[in-house]
C-alpha cells in the first residue's frame, strides 16, 4: 500500500485557524442562583491567536485566542431592607423605659427590589488556549449511494475523509480587568440610591443616604463583595453564571464539530476534469512534528 504525505506548515495552520475562529459567535442570557439575583446577556467572539505544533506527544496547541465580550451586560437585583425614619423615644420613665415613641415613617410599603444594570463591555481581557489532537472521520454521503464514483464526482457529491481537532485541554485565562472596575462601585451606589430615592431632590438623597449610611455594608453584604473586586467579578461571571465553563465547552465543541480542519474526497480526483482519474483512498493518518502537520494518505 502506497502512502502520500501532505505536509502543512504552522503558517498555513494559522490561516486555517483564522478562518475557523473568525466564524465563532455565541450569545447567552440567563440568571444566577447565588446569594443575590443577577441576570446576564453576553455575546462572545474570538479573534487572533496562533498555532504551535508539538511532537511527542502529538498536539496542536491553539494559543492566546482573544475572547471579545460583546456585549457583557449584567443586571443585579437587590432586595433593600426596610428603610424608616423616626421611631425615636419621646418620653422615657425610670423602670418603665420608653413610654412614648415617635411613629416610624417608612419609605416604602414593602421591601423594594432594585435593578442595577451594569455594562461590563471592555472591562475584561481574556484569552483561550487549548491543546488538540487530530481525529479522522469518514463522511459517507448518503445521497451518492445510488451513484458510481464518476457520477458522484460529476455531481460534486463524493464521500470524504475529514480531519477534525479534538480538545484535550482548554484554558480560559483572565489576563486583565480594567482599572475602571472601580467605577462599577460608583455605578452600583448611584443606581441603588437613584433606584431607592429616585425623584427626590439631591439634598434628600444625601440625607436619606446618610440616615442609612451603612448602605455600603448593605451593598457589599448583599452582593458578597469582599475586598477584592477582581475576585468578585470573576466569581460572578465564572462561578455564579458559569460563563467560563460554558465558553470553554462551546469553543471545544465548535472546533471539534463545526468545521473539518482538512478534508479529502474519496476517491480523490488525481486528474480532475471531464474525464477524471480517481484514486481510491483506503485511510488517512496524521502526524505532528514541531514544524508541520502531516497527513498520510494511504492508497
Amino acid at each position: 500500500m502506497a502512502t502520500i504525505q501532505l505536509a502543512v506548515s504552522e503558517n498555513s495552520m494559522n490561516k486555517v485557524l483564522d478562518n475557523l475562529i473568525n466564524n465563532f459567535h455565541i450569545t447567552k442570557s440567563g440568571s444566577s442562583t447565588g446569594n443575590f439575583r443577577a441576570s446576564y446577556n453576553v455575546g462572545i467572539r474570538l479573534t487572533g491567536g496562533s498555532v504551535d505544533l508539538k511532537n511527542d506527544p502529538d498536539e496542536i496547541v491553539l494559543k492566546e485566542i482573544d475572547v471579545n465580550w460583546d456585549p457583557l451586560n449584567v443586571t443585579l437585583e437587590i432586595d433593600i431592607p426596610e428603610i424608616c425614619l423616626g421611631g425615636f423615644c419621646i418620653f422615657w420613665l425610670p423602670f418603665l423605659g420608653c413610654v412614648a415613641r415617635a411613629p416610624k415613617i417608612c419609605l416604602f410599603s414593602a421591601n423594594p427590589d432594585i435593578s442595577i444594570p451594569l455594562n461590563l463591555d471592555g472591562l475584561i481581557t481574556s484569552e483561550i488556549s487549548g491543546g488538540f489532537n487530530a481525529i479522522i472521520r469518514y463522511k459517507d454521503e448518503p445521497s451518492n449511494n445510488s451513484l458510481n464514483p464518476y457520477q458522484a464526482y460529476a455531481a460534486n457529491n463524493m464521500d470524504k475523509w475529514q480531519v477534525f481537532l479534538n480538545s484535550r485541554w482548554l484554558d480560559l485565562d483572565i489576563i486583565d480587568i480594567s482599572d475602571t472596575v472601580g467605577n462599577l462601585l460608583d455605578n452600583i451606589v448611584d443606581n441603588l440610591i437613584n433606584g431607592i430615592f429616585g425623584g427626590l431632590p439631591g439634598w434628600a438623597k444625601d440625607i436619606l443616604s446618610w440616615s442609612l449610611h451603612e448602605i455600603n455594608d448593605i451593598i457589599r453584604g448583599i452582593l458578597d463583595i469582599g475586598d477584592d473586586i477582581d475576585e468578585w467579578l470573576s466569581d460572578l461571571l465564572g462561578v455564579n453564571f458559569g460563563l467560563f465553563d460554558f465558553i470553554l465547552q462551546e469553543v471545544g465543541n465548535y472546533i471539534a464539530n463545526s468545521y473539518p480542519l482538512y478534508e479529502i474526497s474519496n476517491p480523490f480526483p488525481i486528474i480532475p476534469g471531464a474525464n477524471p482519474v480517481l484514486l481510491p483512498i483506503n485511510s488517512i493518518r496524521t502526524d505532528v512534528t514541531n514544524d508541520e502537520f502531516v497527513i498520510n494518505v494511504d492508497i
Binding site: P103, S109, A110, W169, D179, D206, W210, I229
Partner: protein
Amino acid sequence: MNTILNRNLLENTNFSSNTLSPFSFLVHPLAKPGTYGIEIYENNNLIHTNQIISSNENKETSLNIDLYLPSLRAQKGSFKINGDHAYLLFYNSQSFSKNRVIIKDKDSVVYDSISPVKGDLFVLNLLKPGEYTLNSNSLKTSMKLNVQYPDLKRDKLSDAMTRINLNSHSIKAIDSQSLLPNQGVIIQLGDGLKDFNIEYTKSYDKKLENSVVNELKRMARSGIKVPTDRSKKQIIKKFSIRK
C-alpha cells in the same frame, strides 16, 4: 414597591403647632383612666369620632393615632391604652394637615388641641438642611433652628438619636439651636407656650448636594482593592477543562 415618602412631603418645611404630618406629632398624656370620646376635625370639619379606653387592662403606654382618614377608618373598635401611663400621639402619615383633636369625658371637654396645656408635647422631625425660624406669638419671641448638612465622617447616625428638648424658657433664652436631620425636636407646650410657627428661612449651600453620595462612593472604593500595578500578561484567574 410603593414609595410612601414623596417629594412634596419632603419639600414641605413649614410647620405650626397644629400641623400634623409624617414629621410633626402632637403628644397628649391622659390625666386619669376612663372611657373618653374623641372627635377629630380637619379644616374645622368633623371627620371621625371614636372612643378611647384608658385602663390598666391594656399594657400599651402610648397610642400613635394616624389622622389620615383611611387609617382612621381602618381602626377597628375603640382605641385602647394603659390607665396609669397613657400617651396619645397624633400625626398624619400621608400629608400635612391642619387638624384639631377634642377629647371629651362624657360631655365635658378634657383636651382641645388648639389650647395645649402643660405636659403636652409637639415633636418635630426636621429633615431638610438649612435655617428655620421658630416664632411664637404667645411667647412673643423667636429662635433659629439650624439643621446641619450631614457629613459622613463628622456626624454619626447615633448623634441624631439624641433628642433636642425645647420649652418656653429655653426658647426665650437661646437664639439658635443646631441639630442634625432626622434628630427629634421635642417642644414642651404650656407655661405660656401655646402656639408657634416654624418657617424655612435660609437654605444650605447648594454645592453640598451629593456630598454624602460622593463620600459613600469614596468609602465604597476605599474598602475594596482595585489593583493598579499588574504586570502585562499576568494571569489573574484561570479556568480549565481537562479531558
